[in-house]
């Protein structure tokens, strides 16, 4: 295409600077809306996956609570809790056998009152108990050592921070310390949300201490299987096949963390698409504005088009002139929008998620590229009809136009 039409398009934008700037502004807003919404959605997913990915290989077995048969085989043992849905040792042994060579860890859990130091406030927190040899496979420590004795405990990082606990600190458990005192031997690294056990705000003790303190005897609250061999879905099916033989008398509920994770990701994906689509509406509005100014541009220049056509300008050349105009507005507006959307994404992430550490990711870069591309494509699409109309004006009528 002849360079002169590019030049004319540029000059036309320049002499109608206000109008062109307003049209560009529409595109800028559209790109920012799409890209920043995408960034927000991606950051949300990144944030959640960072806190969930460590539990992506777990299968969690809990007593079956739905229907009416949950108490059957699984409810043996008779614990102290009023809600006595438990997994019996027999069932645990079956799970252990079915999942081998993967490790099945039996977990006790309860909530209890506790005090840290003399005269401190009474607090309530979750206490987990699991075999000492299985603890390193499930959690890592940021300080101290794993329990080396009955009266030692591990504390979650948030719990330690909130209550100013260090290795060696003492915690009295139970109302007025009735269950005894535990010494902190280690502080657990932050694990975030998890499907198996949430340790960030909890204590982890030995099963022996727990059984003693809460009068429990191999009646577990849940069993966590860390799947290193095979996939979580197969392990889940195998456990269900073995323990829930009777359809109307189920013993356990089995949660495949990977499946749950993928369903969470898919939900976040849908949310991201939805918010991006809302951003897309502003882009459509911007497109209408581009269409409008392009139609104005054509209507103002009908006579000029007639002259061009009469002295030998081809239809496609007239069309190119208007397409260039739409493209210039689209490219400049979209690039400005792309740059601003990084800032907007930063602001939105900081305000809504409270963190901007997930900003510099490939997915976010892709969101910006998508927004910019969408902006340019919308401008070109909205420029096509006015350009086509200009190119197809009858030169004689166009020349007579006043």
């Amino acid at each position: 295409m002849t360079a002169i039409f590019w030049e004319i398009a540029k000059r036309n934008i320049r002499i109608h600077m206000l109008r062109s700037t307003l049209a560009m502004l529409g595109i800028v807003i559209g790109v920012v809306a799409i890209a920043s919404m995408g960034i927000l959605g991606n950051s949300m997913v990144s944030m959640v996956s960072a806190s969930l990915s460590s539990v992506g290989d777990s299968v969690i077995v809990t007593p079956y609570s739905g229907g009416g048969g949950g108490m059957g085989q699984g409810g043996g043992g008779g614990g102290s809790s009023s809600v006595s849905l438990k997994i019996s040792d027999q069932n645990f042994q079956e799970i252990k056998r079915v999942v081998a060579p993967n490790v099945a860890t039996p977990v006790y859990s309860t909530s209890d009152h506790m005090k840290i130091g003399v005269g401190s406030d009474d607090i309530v927190a979750t206490i987990y108990a699991l075999p000492t040899e299985d603890v390193p496979g499930i959690m890592k420590l940021q300080a101290g050592d794993y329990n080396d004795g009955n009266s030692g405990c591990l504390v979650g990082s948030t719990f330690a921070k909130d209550h100013n606990l260090k290795v060696g600190s003492r915690i009295s458990i139970g109302t007025d310390g009735s269950k005894g005192t535990l010494r902190v031997t280690g502080i657990i690294e932050e694990r975030g949300m998890s499907f198996d056990i949430s340790t960030d705000n909890a204590l982890v003790v030995t099963p022996e201490w727990f059984e003693n303190a809460y009068d429990r005897n191999k009646d577990y609250d849940e069993v966590v299987v860390k799947v290193k061999n095979g996939d979580t879905a197969t392990v889940k099916t195998n456990i269900e096949k073995q323990l829930n033989k009777q359809k109307d008398n189920k013993v356990v509920s089995v949660t495949d963390s990977k499946a749950t994770l993928s369903s969470i990701y898919s939900t976040f994906g849908t949310v991201t698409t939805f918010v991006t689509a809302i951003g897309g509406i502003s882009m459509i509005v911007a497109g209408v504005s581009i269409f409008n100014i392009m139609m104005m541009s054509v209507n103002e220049r009908i006579k000029e088009i007639g002259i061009m056509r009469s002295i030998g300008t081809q239809k496609k050349e007239v069309m190119s002139m208007f397409i260039y105009e739409a493209a210039i507005i689209g490219v400049i507006g979209s690039i400005i929008g792309g740059v601003l959307s990084i800032l907007a994404g930063y602001a939105v992430s900081a305000l809504m998620l409270g963190s901007t550490k997930y900003l510099l990711t490939t997915a976010n870069a892709l969101s910006v590229v998508e927004g910019v591309t969408f902006g340019i494509v919308i401008c070109l699409l909205c420029g096509i009809y006015p350009a086509w109309q200009a190119a197809n004006l009858n030169p004689i009528d166009a020349l007579r136009h006043e």
Binding site: E7, R11, Q314, L399
Partner: protein
């Protein structure tokens, strides 16, 4: 020698809702290379239609038109456009320069459409139409009517067309400037250009060698 324009029994009918309008009714004439012709007639006589057909902006309903030896009836829009660019120079009453382009760019425009720019050629034709060199970088709005029409003539000449078609070239100029433009036309004709002027003005027609009069879509004399 082959005529540069040949109309044989040309009819042009505009189909309108209220009924067909016959703008040209069996018109035949020839224009030889190097002629300087005026076309005169009252309003609504068919002058503009004749100009559109000679300018290859339209095709006849029936009859044949041959321009520079080519029959235009069956030419596609793209072919007609290229033909206009290469063989016809248009000069309009209202100058019709491009306001976004400067004088040199306006004159070079038809050259650019052909794919080559020769600024020296543009300067040469601008000198031939006697436009002051200091005005070349100005925009059309900064020039007087007479100066703009000289630029329009230069633009029409830039691709060395076979025919110059002028639609009331002095209609928007005072008599003195109009006379100077017609003198320029006469000089161009002396140098070999074939010029056809559509006009109401007998003074303009006086500069030409032959006048074709149109009345009610027919040639009167």
């Amino acid at each position: 020698m082959e005529p540069v324009i040949q109309f044989v029994d040309v009819v042009k009918i505009y189909p309108l809702r209220a009924g067909d309008v016959t703008a040209l009714n069996h018109i035949s004439f020839e224009v030889e290379r190097g002629e300087f012709i005026s076309i005169m007639g009252p309003s609504g006589s068919g002058k503009s239609t004749l100009l559109s057909l000679m300018g290859c902006l339209d095709t006849p309903t029936s009859g044949s038109i041959s321009m520079s030896g080519r029959a235009i009836r069956n030419m596609s829009d793209e072919e007609l456009t290229s033909f206009r660019r290469d063989k016809i120079g248009f000069i309009f009453q209202y100058f019709n320069l491009f306001p976004l382009l400067n004088i040199i760019e306006n004159v070079s425009f038809p050259q650019m459409l052909k794919g080559g720019v020769n600024e020296e050629k543009a300067r040469e034709v601008l000198r031939a139409v006697q436009l002051d060199e200091s005005l070349y970088s100005h925009t059309p709005m900064e020039l007087s009517g007479g100066q703009q029409q000289r630029v329009a003539v230069a633009r029409a000449l830039i691709n060395d067309p076979d025919i110059l078609l002028c639609d009331e070239p002095t209609g928007n100029l005072d008599s003195k400037t109009g006379a100077s433009i017609m003198e320029l036309m006469t000089e161009l004709n002396k140098n070999g250009s074939t010029i056809i002027v559509v006009t109401h003005d007998p003074n303009v027609a006086n500069y030409t060698n032959r006048t074709i009069r149109i009345v009610d879509g027919r040639i009167a004399a």
